[in-house]
Amino acid sequence: MTDLNLNFEPNILTFCCNWCSYAGADLAGVSRLQYPTNNRIVRVMCSSRIEPTFILEAFKEGADGVLITGCHIGDCHYIEGNEHTDERMKDMVNALERMGLGERLHLEWVSAAEGKKFQETMINFVDKIKALGPSPLEHKRVE
C-alpha cells in the first residue's frame, strides 16, 4: 500500500480567481518558484463563481483533490464575493465529509503578491493528497 502511495501522482484541480490568486500563481511562475506539476489551473473571474456542482463534477471525473483559491477577505475585486465563497465552502466541506471526501477539498486565500504562499499551498496540498491516496471515485474507474 505504501509503495503504491509513493508512486501515486494525484490529479488536482485548482480554481484561481482572476484578480488575486491567478496573479499569485503567475508570480510564482515568474519568480521561478518550483511546485508540483499535479495541478491543473482553471481561472474563474471570482472564487464565488465556483458552485458546488463544479466540485462534485471534478471529483466525479477523477480529480483526487480540489483546491480553491481566492482573494483575502476584504480584498475581493467584487467587494464581497469571497465571503460568499467562504460560507459556501463551509457547507461543501461538511457535505463532502459525509461522502468521505472532506479532506480532499481545500480553500486558501492567496493574494497577487503571495507567489511564495501559492507554492507552499500547492506543495502541502499535493503531499496531503498523496498521503490520502487515490480518491474512492477514481479507484472505481480504474477497476
Binding site: 458546488p52 456542482t53 462534485l56 463534477e57 466525479k60 464581497e80 465571503e83 460568499h84 460560507e87 459556501r88 457547507d91 461543501m92 461538511n94 457535505a95 459525509r98 461522502m99 468521505g100 471526501l101 474512492p136 471515485l137 472505481k140 474507474r141
Partner: protein, 383 residues
C-alpha cells in the same frame, strides 16, 4: 373568546361527524366551517378508498370534507404541494406543516391565506408493510380493519367486530414492520408550527375517544376556531391542568423515543467506506425523478439544477442528480420520507438525505419548517 396559546378540549356538534371522527371530529368540523363561511376557497382532504388507500383531493364541497373524517395512519402523503397557489385550509401532520412553512419561506405558498390544522402524529406506516404486518403479526385480515391508533408506544388496530389488538411498536419494529424509518427518528410529534395543534393526547375522563385536544398556536388558529364556533359546528371548553400535563408527558416520551432511535438508524460509517456506501445505495437508481416530483420542500420547479444532470451520460459513476439534491436540500429537508416511499428501486433516499441534512442543520442550529424567523441558510445574509 379564544386567544393565542389557549389549550382547549373540543368536539364536533354534529353527532355523525363526532362518532366517525378519530377523536371528536373537531378537525373535520373546523375545516368544514372554514369552507362554509368563506374563510377559504378550498380544503385539501384525503378521500377514503379504504383503510390503506386514499387520494388527496382539493375540494370546495362541504359534504366531501365531512366524509373525509377519521384517521389514516397508513397513507403517508404529504399535502403541502396541494396548497400551492390556492386559498386553502388543510389538515396536516407535523411534517406537512413543516413543508408548508418551508414552501412559504421560498415564496411558493402564501402563508397568510393557508390555514393549517395540525394533527399530533406518532408516526405513519407504509400501506404495503402494514398489510403484511397485519397478516403476520396481528393475525387480522387487512380487509377487516376499521381503525388504528398509536398510544403509549403501542400500535392498536380495531376490527369490524369491535375487537382491539395492541402490539408494542418496539416489538413490531424489531420484526421489520411498524412505522416508516423517517418517522422513527422524527422528534416533532405535536405540530407546534401549525395554526392549530390538535390531537387526542391529553383527552381524559369521559371525553376520552370522542373529543380533541386543541392548542391555538397563532392568530390564524384563533380565526379558524372562532369561525367554527360561530358556525355552530364545534363546542370547546378549556382543558384541565391534568390533561395538559398528560399531553406533555406523551409528547416527551415520543420525542425521547425518536432521539434514541436516531442513533440506531444512523450508525457511523468509517471515513473510507462512506463513498462506497453511497455508491452502493444509489446504484439501483433508474433516474425516474419520482423523488423530486414528490418532494414537498422542493421549490425549484420543472427545470432546475438537479434535473440538468438527469441523464445517464452524467450518471455513469454516481448520479449527479442525487448529489446535487443531497446538497441542495440540506437546508430544507424535513425527513418526511416521501422520496423513500415512492422510489421504485427501494432506495432509502430519506436516510441518505438525512445523513447530509441533519448534521448541517444542527451545526447552524436550524430546524426546518418551524417558523419564519429563520430564513433558509443557503440564503447567505451579508450585511
Amino acid at each position: 373568546m379564544v386567544k393565542v396559546g389557549d389549550m382547549l378540549v373540543g368536539y364536533a356538534t354534529d353527532e355523525n361527524v363526532r362518532s366517525r371522527g378519530a377523536s371528536g371530529g373537531l378537525v373535520t368540523a373546523v375545516l368544514a366551517a372554514a369552507l362554509e363561511k368563506g374563510l377559504v376557497e378550498n380544503v385539501v382532504v384525503m378521500k377514503h378508498i379504504n383503510e390503506f388507500e386514499a387520494v388527496p383531493i382539493v375540494t370546495d364541497n362541504v359534504e366531501e370534507v365531512l366524509a373525509s373524517t377519521g384517521s389514516l395512519h397508513s397513507v403517508p402523503v404529504n399535502l403541502a404541494k396541494y396548497a400551492m397557489g390556492r386559498k386553502v385550509a388543510m389538515p396536516a401532520k407535523p411534517c406537512d406543516a413543516q413543508a408548508v412553512i418551508e414552501q412559504g419561506k421560498r415564496g411558493m405558498i402564501d402563508l397568510d391565506n393557508t390555514y393549517v390544522v395540525g394533527l399530533n402524529c406518532g408516526g405513519s406506516m407504509h400501506p404495503v408493510t402494514t398489510k403484511k404486518m397485519l397478516v403476520e403479526m396481528y393475525d387480522i385480515d387487512p380487509e377487516d380493519v376499521v381503525g388504528e391508533e398509536i398510544e403509549k408506544g403501542k400500535l392498536i388496530f380495531k376490527t369490524k367486530n369491535g375487537e382491539e389488538k395492541a402490539i408494542a411498536i418496539d416489538e413490531l419494529e424489531e420484526a421489520g414492520f411498524g412505522r416508516r424509518e423517517s418517522c422513527r427518528f422524527c422528534t416533532l410529534k405535536i405540530p407546534v408550527n401549525a395554526d392549530l395543534a390538535c390531537g387526542n393526547w391529553g383527552v381524559i375522563g369521559d371525553m376520552a375517544g370522542n373529543a380533541t385536544f386543541c392548542q391555538v398556536m397563532n392568530e390564524k388558529g384563533v380565526k379558524l376556531l372562532e369561525n367554527a364556533i360561530e358556525a355552530g359546528r364545534i363546542e370547546v371548553q378549556p382543558a384541565s391542568e391534568k390533561a395538559i400535563a398528560i399531553r406533555a408527558k406523551v409528547n416527551s416520551v415520543m420525542e425521547d423515543l425518536g432521539s434514541t432511535l436516531e442513533k440506531e438508524i444512523f450508525p457511523d460509517i468509517p471515513d473510507e467506506e462512506r463513498m462506497q456506501y453511497y455508491m452502493e445505495q444509489m446504484e439501483d437508481c433508474i433516474d425516474c425523478g419520482a423523488c423530486k416530483e414528490v418532494c414537498p420542500v422542493c421549490a425549484c420547479g420543472e427545470d432546475s439544477k438537479c434535473t440538468m444532470f438527469h441523464s445517464l451520460v452524467d450518471n455513469y459513476k454516481m448520479s449527479m442528480y442525487h448529489m446535487v439534491r443531497l446538497l441542495h436540500l440540506s437546508d430544507s429537508c424535513i425527513a418526511c420520507g416521501q422520496c423513500s416511499d415512492v422510489c421504485p428501486s427501494d432506495i432509502p433516499i430519506t436516510l441518505l438525505q438525512s445523513r447530509f441534512s441533519i448534521p448541517s442543520q444542527r451545526r447552524r442550529n436550524y430546524q426546518p419548517g418551524i417558523n419564519l424567523d429563520t430564513p433558509p441558510f443557503f440564503e447567505v445574509i451579508l450585511k
